[in-house]
């Protein structure tokens, strides 16, 4: 790993996104729906060194709008990856000892095959002809990447929000491949309110006159108005009431007195506009539709009889965490997950952390949160690599 001269201490330094074609026409990705998809190319990054036993790999699962660039600096960049405070030398996911993999999700728009990719049958972008997929499919693509990298078992699967759903899914379906799972401000099932927010976001996109049934690329336009409104609304759900009050209050933007009109007057409006605009530069509207929909349908414990049978085999050690000001996926979501895991004898550690920053807390440097993850990761490392006994015969 080369270290950029400008990278601050504790950084993984200069990094770059790599690409791998994991599925081809001859060996397509078979989705849970039975549909076939090929080719599938995946953008990913790695940090740290894989040890000789290949036992120190940690998979970082990104959330709805993340990408493969979790830590370090791309060439010429001044801002690091999206989880740089969490991943690096001496950080909770310590790259001095761990080998970290982060990949852009299937259906995404940051280098992995998604609805903006060309459909090999027509040469045009897939648009809404891209098949619907599940969290299980996201995980199966990650598993293919691991095989490509020559890794059979993860020390830990780690993620917040949609990322946590992937870590959960992987552990339930393939417990032999995951020693431990860190699931932060996530859920095993979206509530009606969660789905409602996603539904309105999708409506904003699909009702944009430039949407053209998802074929906006062929029309040379983009549903920017819809996508930015979707992002603005989602952003409100990522912050807390208290956090917004602290950050903006009723302060005006660059003014002493209100203009009494419909233009941006309040700081909070200006902030949301900025968030909406900035999002357009990096995100594709169809990807937003697919990746919100994949969350709506996620319900691994929907059929509790079938799930219970699967959970009987799970010996993955779970760390579940929530934040007290998060109302997107509040603590009740995490506690439901804890109750189900504990009832099926899956070893689970849980803690709610105090933080005023709402759902976004998982991306921020909240000391108690980082301390807990660091302790947990150290212990898991000792068990999976150092031969320290786990908690007894595995399952609790």
């Amino acid at each position: 790993m080369t270290t950029a001269g400008t990278a601050p201490a504790g950084s993984v330094g200069r990094v770059e996104t790599r690409r791998a074609t994991l599925f081809t026409q001859d060996q397509p990705l078979i989705l849970e729906s039975g549909q076939r998809l090929a080719p599938v190319e995946v953008a990913y990054e790695t940090y740290g060194e894989l040890n000789e036993q290949r036992s120190n790999a940690v998979f970082i699962h990104h959330a709805l709008t993340g990408d493969a660039h979790a830590a370090g600096y791309h060439e010429g960049a001044t801002r690091p990856g999206w989880w740089d405070n969490f991943i690096g030398p001496g950080k909770p996911v310590d790259t001095d000892r761990l080998f970290v993999v982060c990949a852009n999700l299937l259906g995404g728009c940051m280098g992995t095959t998604g609805p903006a990719s060309p459909n090999p049958e027509t040469g045009d972008p897939y648009g809404l002809r891209f098949p619907l997929f599940t969290v299980g499919d996201l995980v199966n693509v990650h598993r293919a990447l691991l095989r490509h990298l020559g890794i059979r078992r993860l020390l830990a699967a780690v993620g917040g929000s949609l990322g946590g759903m992937q870590a959960l899914q992987w552990s339930i379906e393939h417990p032999d491949e995951v020693h431990s799972a860190v699931v932060v401000c996530s859920t095993a099932r979206l509530s009606a309110q969660n789905i409602a927010f996603s539904a309105v976001a999708r409506e904003a996109i699909m009702r944009d006159p430039n949407f053209h049934g998802g074929d906006y690329q062929r029309h040379g336009v983009r549903p920017d108005a819809g996508l930015s409104v979707a992002r603005m609304m989602a952003h409100i759900t990522y912050l807390s009431e208290e956090g917004m009050r602290r950050k903006f209050g009723r302060r005006l933007q660059d003014r002493e007195s209100p203009r009494f009109g419909f233009d941006v007057d309040f700081q909070v409006e200006s902030y949301l506009h900025h968030q909406g605009e900035a999002f357009l530069k990096r995100f594709d509207a169809n990807s937003y539709l697919y990746l919100t929909r994949v969350m709506d349908y996620f319900d691994p414990f929907g059929d509790m009889v079938a799930a219970g049978a699967k959970l009987e085999r799970v010996d993955t050690r779970f760390l579940v965490m929530s934040f007290d000001s998060d109302w997107r996926f509040d603590t009740a979501h995490s506690r439901d997950l804890v109750r189900i895991l504990a009832a099926h004898r899956v070893p689970v550690t849980f803690r709610e952390i105090a933080s005023p920053h709402g759902h976004d807390s998982f991306l921020l440097e909240v000391p108690e949160y980082h301390r807990t993850v660091a302790s947990f990761m150290r212990r898991m490392e000792a068990e999976a690599i150092g031969g320290v006994p786990g908690d007894g015969p595995g399952r609790v």
């Binding site: 779970f318 504990a342 009832a343 070893p347 302790s375 007894g392 399952r395 609790v396």
Partner: protein
């Protein structure tokens, strides 16, 4: 490990699935899991003790047991342990009820406030009693609901529970001598019970 934890550990059947309420740094669970074939889970409210459990690899849920045990389903454990913690809860009866909802067997240990040393402390010196098992001053003690052996057994009956086994403790937390059996409420410094629904 503290002697009273050793006594509690001896009461847990080998290979049980154990929930330890107020598990502290996880020492009891570590003993049960690593040496007695048990599996288990702790509940702890103190952040430092929580971290100690995480570092030991003991699964632990950070929660206040006075709020009940909403994270645990009916009958999802074989044994629930409440060791030297009953007297620190706001609602001891509720905690006992929740224990016996989550498992068929409960193990409860507590300091006996009827012990002669404590009685004399109050009677002769007119001071709030303290002892090796109860080292805190009155204004900083976590112990807010003291009881005697007689009091506890009354609660057990009132809750329709059966005390299957009782071990009396001396002031070091070890097993009390045979002479203590004659007047447990006066002579035992503490007690550990195995309860069934």
């Amino acid at each position: 490990m503290r002697p009273d934890l050793g006594i509690v550990a001896d009461m847990v059947p080998r290979g049980s699935r154990v929930l330890d309420l107020g598990c502290g740094d996880g020492a009891l669970l570590e003993e049960l899991i690593r040496r007695r074939g048990c599996s288990g889970q702790g509940v702890e409210v103190s952040p430092d003790a929580f971290h100690a459990c995480v570092s030991r690899g003991i699964p632990v849920v950070s929660a206040d047991i006075d709020q009940g045990l909403p994270d645990f389903s009916d009958g999802s454990f074989d044994v629930v342990v409440l060791s030297q913690t009953l007297q620190t809860t706001y609602r001891p009866a509720l905690v006992l009820r929740e224990m016996m909802r989550v498992a068929e067997v409960g193990i409860v240990s507590f300091p006996n406030f009827g012990h002669i040393g404590l009685r004399l402390n109050l009677m002769l010196r007119g001071r709030m009693p303290s002892s090796r098992l109860l080292p805190h001053r009155w204004y900083e003690t976590p112990n807010i609901h003291h009881c005697t052996i007689v009091d506890f057994e009354e609660l057990v009956r009132a809750e329709d529970l059966v005390a299957v086994e009782r071990v009396l403790l001396n002031s070091s937390g070890g097993p009390a001598g045979p002479w203590v059996q004659r007047r447990p409420n006066l002579l035992a410094a503490g007690a550990a019970y195995l309860l069934r629904r």
